[in-house]
Symmetry: C2
Subunit: 213 residues, 2 copies
């Protein structure tokens, strides 16, 4: 599947590109204008410049031949400037609108655990939760996209184990590599469409958890 | 009418309190915990502490006997901290949810001119536009409140003239006193329910403009 990864230079984005390639998919790396994409191009990966501060129509022009979009961009926890509002919220929503303009139906969103439950939002991440909440809400209520929202716990740099859980009451962390592997598997699993899925490290293989959704 | 003004100590909020009183309404002044409400209490005005960082249920407890809510709070243009997200967006939405919990149907929102048109958003106010856009959107699409959204142009401290216009294509400013007078008149005008109304200084009396809506 030809998949645009918005935020392909991020910590999760890089893993997504690699795992999509390994899975036989065709990743398109969406980078900011100021990011270096040379090593991606050297691997034969298409690189496109995606400006999340631009209008949806402009973002749509980068999605025209994609079959799916994964939104993996983020302001990088810089909650003390406007980027939480402009990227994590409005940038995400503009990407959804761009996908609709470009006719790309499948949309994968990387959100945060408990983004839908204001009672669980804690400082210092509260502003990011607010942004994620309204972005996820838009995807569910104000688009007709075939979406999957994945809400991982705290992201770690530990090696992936391939074992996860999706217990809506659990709290914990997950290696970025396992999040990326779950996203790729979920992309190809129609039963994840229209679902919001909490995700943590666990005891079950990724495919088993997806099959039970 | 018994009306809670959230943000009653703000520049527009103070005018709203005075004009509601003059109109024979019963304003309830919603202030932050750290704001001085003594001069309001000396005028016999009920003062309540409204914490927009608290949960909707907590905000609802301040609205129980109100017949309407006017959201006049704002982060004060402090777009370079989290308050745009936490107050102008999430604080506004929590106040809407609080009104629904408390059974207060009538909800008046002070928004910004062109908040619904991303093509018109310009720096340095862009983050505030983002917040206002999603707050207004929630009010329209995700509540059952009897809302009126007023979208004034640039607010000035000029004396009120009592003359306004509501041309969706016009650009300009409006004295805060005229905005407040319009809000009070619109509160009592059922034809403003369910409407989003641009508002600028103009040539027609406020009541004439409202009668034409």
């Amino acid at each position: 599947m030809r998949v645009m990864i918005v935020g392909a230079n991020g910590e999760v984005g890089r893993l997504l590109v690699a795992q999509l390639l390994a899975n036989g998919d065709e990743p398109i790396a969406g980078l900011r204008a100021d990011e270096d994409g040379e090593d991606l191009e050297d691997q034969g990966i298409a690189v496109r410049r995606v400006d999340l501060l631009a209008k949806p129509e402009r973002i749509a022009s980068t999605l025209m031949d994609a079959e799916a979009v994964i939104f993996a961009a983020g302001s990088g926890g810089r909650t003390k400037d406007d980027m939480t509002l402009l990227i994590d919220l409005d940038g995400a929503v503009k990407t959804m609108q761009a996908a609709e303009i470009a006719g790309v139906k499948r949309f994968m969103m990387i959100s945060m655990l408990f983004a839908e439950d204001r009672n669980r939002w804690a400082d210092p991440l509260k502003p990011l939760y607010v942004a994620k909440f309204y972005a996820d809400n838009w995807l569910v209520h104000q688009t007709h996209l075939a979406y999957t929202i994945v809400q991982p716990g705290a992201l770690s740099f530990h090696a992936g184990t391939g074992k996860v859980q999706s217990d809506p009451l659990a709290v914990g962390s997950i290696p970025r590599a396992d999040l990326a592997a779950f996203m790729v598997a979920a992309l190809h699993a129609p039963q994840t469409i229209g679902k919001t899925i909490p995700l943590l490290s666990g005891e079950q293989p990724i495919q088993t958890v997806i099959d039970q959704l």
